[in-house]
């Protein structure tokens, strides 16, 4: 048998050998879940960074407040009023910051969870 003859026989044989298979739905489903998980991980990272920024921001506000009060103690007769006002302003600021963060966090979390549950069904 010559090489060329074997080539023809083998090509014909190999090409004749076909068996349809469909792994596309399974793989795509797996990829979908993988992508959802990846985006959720990114979301958690985003939340982590936001929480860190918020905490450091709040701490900075308290430090500024402390410095401010220290300076204001020079005006002793108004000290009590200034002190209370600064506390109220700080309290309002922290409340607004936390509630908006909480709102964004939970609404996005809920959205991500819904999307993830839907993709796994």
């Amino acid at each position: 048998m010559k090489d060329a003859q074997l080539d023809i026989i083998m090509k014909k044989h190999m090409k004749n050998n076909s068996n349809p298979i469909d792994v596309e739905p399974d793989v795509m489903n797996r990829i979908k879940i993988y992508e959802e998980k990846k985006s959720r991980r990114l979301l958690y990272l985003e939340y982590g960074i936001s929480a860190l920024l918020l905490t450091s921001g709040t701490a900075s506000v308290f430090i500024i407040q402390y410095i401010f009060i220290s300076c204001m103690s020079l005006f002793e007769e108004y000290w009590n009023i200034i002190h209370i006002a600064v506390w109220i302003i700080t309290g309002i600021f922290v409340l607004i910051a936390f509630s908006s963060f909480g709102f964004i966090y939970f609404s996005r979390m809920l959205k991500a969870e819904k999307k993830f549950v839907k993709s796994t069904l």
């Binding site: 090509k11 050998n17 298979i21 793989v27 979908k32 993988y34």
Partner: protein, 188 residues
């Protein structure tokens, strides 16, 4: 069925940019050749199906590392080849036991998939007797029509080694087939 190179490149770029749904088009095109290739290596339908899925998933996860230096199919087959070899290494003992029990069912898929005649069965049996590397190289050469360079890339071996595997594989096949068949009659 093969994709136009430019279209394939476009789809891959889309996938890289986050449009993962377009990866389905690549799966659709390459699932059968990849499955047949993996099955040629590990010779078990169910495992081959699982490995085909795993190969596509791995390819998707590392698609950003695909730099268009080779054909996508070559890169994909390389992943499939590595997956199959790792599978064989991992399940070597199990496969050896199964082989001894089910020797008569060897290549059942390939025999069942082709037209059932003596010649096809003889070719499959002859292929089975080849060394794994020879069988894989011949499969890539004849079935996928890959060049020596592409086969070398997929199998991660030098081109000369590929040539040697193919040469030896062909010699064994010729010897084996010549015993039972006259090539002129087959080709007539």
């Amino acid at each position: 069925m093969e994709l136009n190179i430019e279209k394939e490149k476009y789809i891959i770029t889309e996938v890289k940019n986050g449009n993962y749904e377009r990866f389905g088009e690549l799966i659709h095109i390459y699932q059968s050749p990849l499955y047949i290739f993996i099955n040629r290596i590990i010779r078990n339908n169910d495992d081959a199906k699982d490995l085909t899925q795993e190969t596509f998933f791995k390819a998707y996860r590392s698609i950003k590392s695909f730099k268009f230096k080779s054909k996508f199919s070559t890169w994909l087959f390389q992943i499939g080849y590595n997956e199959s070899i790792n599978f064989i290494r991992k399940h070597a003992r199990h496969i050896a036991i199964e082989k001894s029990i089910a020797i008569k069912f060897i290549d059942d898929y390939h025999i069942a998939a082709v037209e059932k005649n003596e010649l096809n069965e003889e070719i499959e049996k002859s292929l089975h007797e080849l060394k794994q590397e020879q069988r894989i190289a011949l499969h890539l050469l004849y079935r996928e029509e890959k060049s020596y360079k592409e086969i070398a890339d997929i199998m991660e071996i030098p081109i000369n080694t590929v040539k040697s595997h193919i040469r030896r594989g062909k010699d064994i096949l010729k010897q084996r087939l010549s015993l039972s068949y006259d090539p002129d009659t087959i080709l007539a």
